[in-house]
């Protein structure tokens, strides 16, 4: 990203400048060239550990279904699935290290979906 910034904003920005951006001065404008690849590198061992947890949760889902909990079964299965989805989103999809904007956007999509589900079920329940 290459952002031209008026010179009087410079001092303010310089104090906030992180090591990954470069500031280039020209006569009237300051160009801030931000590093393109700001993604965090996740180590192989961390990824393997996440996989072990995901595998464990998969076996847990299957064994929970075989013991009869009645209507609780589907709730437990969905809770475990949500936990797995959270692990995949935050680690494999690097969301843990992404900008707050993106994390809020992803959260909003799930909130939107939850609302659609709740509203539809309320509609069916009171027909």
């Amino acid at each position: 990203m290459d952002i031209p910034v008026p010179i009087n904003v410079f001092n303010h920005l310089e104090s906030k400048n992180n090591s990954k951006s470069r500031i280039i001065k020209s006569k009237y404008l300051i160009h801030i060239v931000m590093a393109n690849n700001t993604t965090h590198t996740i180590e192989y061992i961390t990824l393997s550990k996440i996989l072990v947890v995901l595998m464990f949760l998969t076996f847990l889902t299957i064994s929970v279904t075989s013991i009869h909990l009645g209507p609780l079964t589907v709730t437990v299965a969905l809770l475990i699935a949500s936990l797995k989805a959270f692990l995949v989103l935050s680690n494999f999809m690097h969301l843990k290290y992404e900008s707050v904007l993106l994390r809020i956007l992803v959260g909003m999509v799930f909130v939107l979906f939850a609302l659609i589900i709740v509203i539809t079920f309320i509609d069916y329940a009171f027909r």
Binding site: H31, Y44, L47, L78
Partner: protein
């Protein structure tokens, strides 16, 4: 103004924006499957016994194997990204290769699973389907549609990762410029994410 010119020699690339674009596309995909999950949950609520009986037709073992295969492939594609960030082209290629292999294993399993159903006359548009009662018919229609759409996403993901494989090989994707692999990996994780919900909902109904 000479320094001003230097800035324009910089490559104009915005990886953050291309990743945001990929995420916006993923949102539409999530809501596409979300709509189907909504239809599924309404009908499951209305026909709980028919859904339970129909789900017994599916093999939990094949479903579980496919879940493990997809989770594993999700990890290997994340590792491919780690490798390319570490400038390790060889490992990146191996990890993308493993991911593609897992995707193929998933599709082969799906082929046998569907083949088994089709042998028994259970497929959309078969003469047997209209004879089923409403609950069973809805379950199998949703089963074929949702797993079919998911399998289509697997094929699209494989194509995307195959492109990434050759671009890593030709060094068009490298430790300085890997946003395409990042987006390809995001798509692959989406496929995994959908399966995480499809598996307990389709195979494990009590």
């Amino acid at each position: 103004m000479s320094e001003h010119k230097i800035v324009h020699f910089e490559e104009h690339r915005d990886d953050e924006a291309s990743k945001l674009g990929m995420w916006l596309f993923i949102f539409t995909e999530l809501l596409l499957f979300g709509g189907l999950f909504l239809v599924y949950s309404i009908f499951r609520m209305q026909y709980p016994t028919a859904f339970h009986e129909s789900s017994l037709e599916l093999s939990v073992t094949i479903g579980a194997v496919n879940t493990i295969v997809l989770l594993f492939s999700s990890m290997t594609i994340a590792m491919a990204l780690t490798a390319i960030q570490k400038n390790d082209q060889k490992r990146a290629l191996i990890f993308i290769g493993i991911t593609l292999f897992c995707a193929a294993v998933f599709l082969v399993n799906k082929y046998f699973e569907w083949g088994h159903k089709i042998e028994h006359g259970l497929y959309p548009g078969s003469p047997l389907m209209p004879l089923l009662d409403r609950g069973h018919l809805l379950y199998f229609s949703l089963y074929f549609f949702m797993t079919g759409l998911h399998a289509l996403h697997i094929i699209i993901g494989m194509t995307l990762l195959l492109v990434c494989y050759y671009k890593v090989k030709s060094k068009n994707i490298n430790s300085q410029d890997y946003v395409l692999l990042e987006n390809g990996a995001l798509y692959w994780h989406l496929v995994d994410l959908i399966w995480i919900f499809l598996f307990p909902l389709m195979y494990l109904i009590t």
